[in-house]
């Protein structure tokens, strides 16, 4: 029953939205449990394939919610699952942001912003470092990262950098090097 499925998708993803602190990675395990074990929308192998697809596509990894919805109930299911995952957390963020925006350009806000900046910088570095610890990352990826960063610091366009890297890795693959 499509309506039952849509309701089930909503009930799976809406609560997850508010516990997805730190982004999608914190809820992948729970998504897998719900989609495979609890609701039987797909097999374990299918879930792994969907995960790979979500990594290969642009956008946040949590868009895998759309793929789960698509498997469970087609295009409408994909929309319902993605919206259920994004809307509740978005409303919370807008609430906090609204309060923040009303502070305007006050001295207190400037002090808070100056205090948040080093924490954000530390988190950015930590995020880059964590993702570089993933499976299959070797010295060549580290060299790519540092080389690209140096190039970008000199004002290169990220689109150009990305295009060159894609061609470079396609060439490496052709030579059997990666």
């Amino acid at each position: 029953m499509p309506l039952d499925r849509l309701l089930a998708l909503f009930l799976v993803f809406a609560p997850m939205s508010l516990v997805s602190i730190g982004g999608g990675t914190s809820i992948f395990a729970e998504m897998q449990r719900q989609a495979v074990t609890v609701h039987g929308w797909m097999t374990d192998e299918q879930f792994v394939a969907l995960f790979a697809i979500s990594r290969a596509a642009p956008g946040p990894g949590s868009l895998i919610s759309g793929l789960i919805g698509w498997e469970a109930a087609g295009f409408v299911g994909a929309l319902v699952a993605a919206l259920s995952l994004y809307v509740p957390s978005s409303i919370l963020l807008l609430g906090v942001g609204h309060w923040w925006r009303r502070r305007g350009d006050s001295p207190v806000r400037r002090v808070i912003e100056r205090g948040l900046a080093p924490v954000a910088v530390g988190l950015i570095f930590a995020g880059v470092y964590t993702l570089m610890q993933a499976d299959g990352v070797g010295w060549i990826h580290w060299a790519t990262l540092l080389g690209c960063a140096a190039w970008l610091m000199h004002g290169a366009s990220p689109y150009l950098v990305m295009g060159v890297v894609a061609l470079f890795y396609a060439g490496l693959f052709g030579l059997g090097a990666v």
Partner: protein
């Protein structure tokens, strides 16, 4: 309220910029892309305002890049700006991922795709690293650098849960900024 001295962002431009960002975000590194478009190229926001959004977006639930897009859109033009930014950042990838799933169901895995995406992911992360480095160059004094180092080691190297770490670091860092509020 727009920040003093900043350019006012038209709503359609917000949708356009974030739609392009949504398509460009292969392999992650979205905060880096957003910083480049919103702060460096267009001057819609200050560095400090942007970084506050980065911290807020990571602490609150939700995908970090979506939260940051919502925050930027809202600070620029209120809720309409936020909705357009989030639509732009999520819409194209959402359609793309469905098409990819359809292709996958038909043709199976394409050889070499994983290798190329691995490299592209590293170049995407270089964007984030660049944003961090640019922001770090503006930090003055021992205090902010100690906060950067402590946050990085705790979350990145030791893999401590982010929320408690940030819950401690933010008050410490804001207190340091308050003490030095008359400097710089």
């Amino acid at each position: 309220m727009t920040q003093a001295g900043m350019v006012r962002a038209p709503l359609l431009s917000i949708l356009g910029v974030f739609t392009a960002l949504g398509m460009a975000s292969f392999g992650g590194g979205l905060p880096g892309w957003m910083h480049r478009e919103v702060v460096v190229k267009r001057g819609w926001m200050t560095d400090e305002g942007f970084l506050a959004g980065v911290a807020l977006g990571q602490v609150l639930p939700g995908a970090n890049s979506v939260n940051l897009a919502l925050y930027i859109g809202q600070q620029l033009r209120g809720v309409p700006g936020a909705v357009l930014a989030a639509t732009g950042i999520l819409g194209p990838p959402f359609l793309f991922i469905i098409v990819l799933a359809l292709l996958y169901a038909r043709f199976g895995e394409v050889a070499g795709l994983a290798a190329v995406l691995g490299g592209v992911a590293a170049s995407g992360l270089a964007n984030s690293l660049t944003t961090g480095l640019r922001a770090a160059r503006r930090l003055r004094g021992i205090g902010p650098w100690a906060v950067v180092a402590a946050t990085f080691v705790a979350v990145g190297v030791l893999r401590w849960p982010m929320i408690p770490v940030v819950a401690v670091m933010i008050p410490v860092s804001v207190a340091l900024a308050w003490r030095n509020r008359h400097a710089a």
